[in-house]
């Protein structure tokens, strides 16, 4: 596997505050890498350093195994925080300007405008765009030079549900083309839906990293319900039950290791109880995230 980005002991201190503290991280080619963390955990500072706008206090990072240069940055498409463009220029002219900076042909512009569905509004001034359109123009600009790596920082921040769905669709399309994507977000659901790998930052420290597929391994939760009195106690008599919670009118059974919904169903059936609801729930990233955050101090 080819390492696209290798971060080695990267730190950024603002006075006493350690915004990023000895960060070590590798991103491989083709990964959709999610950077998770609460607000102020150092995501944007890290991405700022990777893109040359924030000077690191110490440590270094390599893009494609090389020391970072402006020439390398032109091959990386990045949207950090909110979209930034010249408000008095049209979308088209803003992209023309970016094409000049990235030294890529202006012929690329129609294609990226089409991808983000902004062709019709391209000649309107940027300041007349809605937030969703601004975000999409930012993604268009990031894709302009046909980059091999895409960095997106909270790309769905402040968008309405439709806008969020559109941006996710665009990210999936891009990922399907084999591009490496680094996505910073505090929206866990978003990371779970689009990412292959993720890392969790807390107060500048990386406290977890791994593939998204690993989430949900370990103990299972089964949601179950039946029209039986004292169902709670019946559930507790099952040898695979670790704990039972009643939530939203159904019972959440946390299973011991090695037990699954199938065994619970069998057990209840043998007891003469027919369930009217049974769902095996994978642990959501949100749960795991909160667990990891509360474990790390």
């Amino acid at each position: 596997m080819e390492t696209v980005l290798s971060i080695q002991d990267l730190s950024k201190h603002f006075g006493k505050i350690k915004a990023v503290n000895n960060l070590k991280l590798d991103v491989q080619k083709g990964q959709v890498f999610g950077m998770l963390g609460p607000n102020g955990s150092g995501k944007t500072t890290t991405l700022g350093m990777l893109m040359g706008v924030t000077n690191p206090t110490s440590g270094k990072f390599l893009w494609f195994g090389e020391e970072p240069t402006p020439q390398l940055r032109r091959k990386i498409g990045a949207v950090l925080e909110h979209p930034i463009f010249y408000p008095y220029l049209s979308g088209q002219k803003n992209l023309e300007l970016n094409a000049m900076i990235k030294q890529c042909p202006v012929e690329n512009i129609p294609r990226v405008l089409e991808l983000v569905e902004l062709t019709e509004r391209k000649d309107d001034k940027y300041k007349t765009y809605s937030l969703g359109m601004k975000q999409r123009l930012a993604i268009a600009s990031a894709l302009l030079n046909d980059p091999t790596v895409l960095i997106l920082d909270e790309p769905t921040n402040g968008l309405d549900p439709m806008g969020i769905a559109e941006i996710r669709e665009i990210i999936r399309k891009i990922a399907a083309n084999g591009k490496t994507i680094i996505l910073a977000s505090h929206l866990l659901d978003e990371v779970q839906k689009v990412c292959t790998h993720f890392a969790i930052l807390k107060r500048g420290n990386m406290i977890y990293t791994g593939p998204v597929d690993d989430v949900g391994k370990g103990s299972e939760t089964v949601e179950v319900n039946a029209d039986v009195e004292n169902f709670n106690e019946v559930l507790l008599t099952f040898s695979g039950t670790s704990s039972v919670n009643r939530e939203n009118g159904v019972y959440q059974v946390t299973m011991r290791d090695g037990f699954h919904g199938k065994e619970l169903n069998k057990f209840l059936f043998e007891k003469g109880i027919v369930v009217n609801h049974l769902v095996t729930k994978k642990k959501s990233l949100e749960k795991q995230f909160l667990e990891i955050l509360s474990e790390a101090h």
Binding site: V53, R74, I84, K93, K102
Partner: protein, 267 residues
């Protein structure tokens, strides 16, 4: 380098404020320098009202070779407008945060600065060319006789005027990069002469010899004020090389300080 100039011009040429200020500047520059005779006529009629009279034909405002220094000096007064334009251009980059995006998109910090410096060079060059042509044309119109031997005496005031404008724009650019806010930086630019004047007046009695090394003073010394010669006073009618040296050093420093500031900043 040319590519960087094109990038900065792309930002500016669709910006209405740029056209308004630059249009106003070059229009005023052309008109003001060309209408000196009208000004003298007005002055004469004013003095006549007091019962005195002057013969304006005896003031060779537009005669070769006087015209070069006269117009180069007068034009220098208007450079403050260009300075304000430069401040707006650079502080916009900070208020829109586009300086950050430009770096992210692949400009180096030095390249970003060069793009602004090349625009300053272009504006200085255009100013010089415009004033040169106005001088040439008015000189040809008003000079009673043309003598090729001394007609171009004092033409060195034009490179000096170019340096004067460029040094001042470099100063404005540095101010913008350090202050980053348009309103405050414009106020500071307008007051910078006053601030320097106060300092100069306070040290004049003790160390007058250092005054020529002050930054704005050094810019002013490039093209000395010529009009006192019409009141029969001795003037400096040449470009002093030490003055050029001092101004060049300051110009370099202004841009170098800008570079250091940009390099160190977290954008």
């Amino acid at each position: 380098m040319l590519q960087l100039l094109r990038i900065d011009l792309k930002k500016l040429t669709s910006y209405r404020t740029f056209w308004i200020i630059c249009g106003l500047y070059f229009f005023t520059l052309g008109m003001a320098t060309a209408s000196g005779m009208e000004f003298l006529k007005w002055l004469a009629s004013l003095i006549e009202g007091f019962g005195q009279s002057i013969n304006i034909d005896r003031i060779p405002l537009y005669h070769f070779p006087d015209v070069w220094q006269n117009l180069a000096w007068s034009s220098g007064l208007l450079k403050i407008m260009l300075g304000i334009m430069v401040l707006i251009s650079i502080t916009n980059e900070y208020s829109y945060r586009t300086v950050r995006q430009n770096i992210i998109d692949g400009l180096s910090r030095a390249e970003f600065l060069y793009s602004k410096i090349t625009t300053n060079l272009l504006l200085s060059l255009l100013s010089m060319v415009l004033v040169f042509f106005v001088s040439l044309v008015t000189g040809l119109i008003y000079s009673p006789s043309l003598n090729w031997h001394y007609m171009f005496n004092g033409i060195e005031f034009f490179p000096a005027y170019f340096l004067e404008v460029f040094a001042f724009l470099s100063f404005a650019l540095m101010l913008g990069i350090f202050v980053q806010r348009s309103g405050l930086s414009i106020v500071l630019l307008l007051n910078s002469y006053l601030i320097e004047l106060i300092i100069k007046k306070n040290i004049d009695d003790y160390v007058p010899q250092v005054i020529q090394f002050f930054p704005l003073e050094s810019i002013m010394n490039l093209v000395p004020m010529p009009f006192a010669r019409y009141a029969f006073q001795e003037i400096q009618d040449y470009v002093s090389l030490p003055a050029v040296g001092i101004a060049l050093v300051w110009t370099f420093l202004f841009n170098y300080f800008s570079y250091l500031r940009l390099k160190k900043a977290d954008l």
